[in-house]
Symmetry: C2
Subunit: 112 residues, 2 copies
């Protein structure tokens, strides 16, 4: 999976980001795993509005079922201002960013 | 508003907690404001599953519109295991806790 360079106002896409939408949670879990497997140290999971609970589901499923030594570095919440195309009405939407890292794997100890 | 002493497995209710459900966001914002107005220093907003996005909405609306000097002390996510009454099937649900505090008000400076 190549690095996504999504252009969204207010959200600079500098690091490896999984943007949560309306797809099944497993899709985003797979995206995170793919990033880690391509030797990325850190992945940011971003979501807005109702997708926020799916972002939490993604990270929790990832930690529970796939990457046991997952560490949550940071969770940030914020508000983004949207302007509707029709009418130009402003509305606010909550956003969330969860930054996760995979702990360095320890050297497996050989049994004697 | 009296301190809630809700008994829920896995969630110890020691401090002042606003548990997010399906009501409108403003209800929970009001609950938080009531806690702060009764001189509580710290309020914890808790939610499970789909209510998680409403928890974020609550804190963001509170910060944006009502308490400008609100500080987010901590955001924690976790998983709770539920057992269905019928059939006894286990299912996992994501949980979230946002701990917020109100910064101490500074002494107003008198204009000379």
């Amino acid at each position: 999976m190549a690095k996504k360079e999504t252009k969204r106002e207010g959200i600079p896409q500098t690091e490896n980001t999984v943007l949560i939408g309306r797809k099944p949670v497993m899709n985003y879990v797979t995206a995170c795993i793919t990033f880690f497997n391509s030797n990325e140290k850190q992945v940011t999971v971003k979501a807005r509005g109702r997708a926020i609970c799916r972002a939490v589901d993604t990270v929790e499923l990832l930690r529970r079922a796939f990457i046991k030594d997952l560490e949550i570095q940071n969770i940030a919440i914020s508000t983004e201002e949207l302007v509707r195309v029709e009418g130009g009405q402003k509305s606010n939407i909550s956003t969330m960013e969860i930054t996760i890292t995979k702990a360095e794997p320890k050297q497996p100890q050989e049994e004697e």
